[in-house]
């Protein structure tokens, strides 16, 4: 079945330094939709950004990601981490052409930004 892999479970960053969270996926379908959701402490997950287009950069709230179908990757990046970026980040996969909108989530990366 479909799967999403986030290799880092816990990441500690220093404020002002760049952020990169890894996400790779597996699916037999050629047109997946990839998402990043963010969950701050004691809150519920919310959409950060999403992409369908191969090799096109998507940006939102200072974060960006590019879907690379050749490597089945959708890494999340930010040029300069802020304390408020401390949160749990989920990469997720959806398949186009279906009514359900089901998401397959990775295990999540817990990010802590320190000063």
């Amino acid at each position: 079945g479909d799967s999403v892999t986030q290799t880092e479970g816990l990441v500690t960053l220093t404020e002002g330094l760049p952020v990169m969270l890894n996400c790779t996926y597996q699916t037999i379908y050629s047109n997946p939709f990839l998402f990043w959701y963010v969950q701050h402490l004691n809150e519920s997950p919310r959409l950060l950004l999403k992409s369908f287009t191969d090799n096109k950069r998507t940006e939102h709230q200072g974060f960006h990601a590019t879907l690379h179908k050749s490597s089945s990757s959708f890494h999340l990046q930010k040029s300069s981490a802020q304390l408020s970026d401390s949160a749990l980040y989920y990469c997720a996969l959806s398949l186009t052409g279906g009514l359900s909108g089901k998401l397959t989530f990775g295990e999540g990366t817990q990010v802590t930004v320190i000063s």
């Binding site: 939709f33 519920s44 997950p45 989920y90 052409g97 359900s100 909108g101 998401l103």
Partner: protein, 115 residues
């Protein structure tokens, strides 16, 4: 702004007891979902629904039932609760979208402890 509410927010149940978690959405979304969140596993889909009267099994449906009596309401039922079902449960809603790009809107979560 999307509005998904859950009740109760916290629940302590005994092993073998019946537990019902309720979810209400005012977004008029067709699709609704139940997830559980556990450290090391991320968000896992239990059941989902395409609309009133429909329920579908997700990735981990064993031990759970679901009910969708109306567009707005979606319940998760644990007929015989077990300690392994101790978790945080999230309900979400989303539009029906053939493109697969539909954002999911999450409720605040229910923390369930089964003793």
């Amino acid at each position: 702004e999307a509005a998904v509410t859950q009740s109760p927010r916290n629940k302590v149940a005994v092993t073998g007891g019946k537990v019902t978690l309720s979810c209400n959405q005012t977004n008029n979304h067709n699709n609704m979902y139940w997830y559980r969140q556990d450290t090391g596993h991320g968000l896992r889909l239990i059941h989902y629904s395409y609309g009133a009267g429909s329920t579908e099994k997700g990735d981990i449906p064993d031990g759970y039932k679901a009910s969708r009596p109306s567009q707005e309401n979606f319940s998760l039922i644990l007929e015989l609760a077990t300690p392994s079902q101790t978790s945080v449960y999230f309900c979400a809603s989303g539009d029906r979208d053939w493109g697969g790009a539909s954002e999911q809107y999450f409720g605040p979560g229910t923390r369930l402890t089964v003793l």
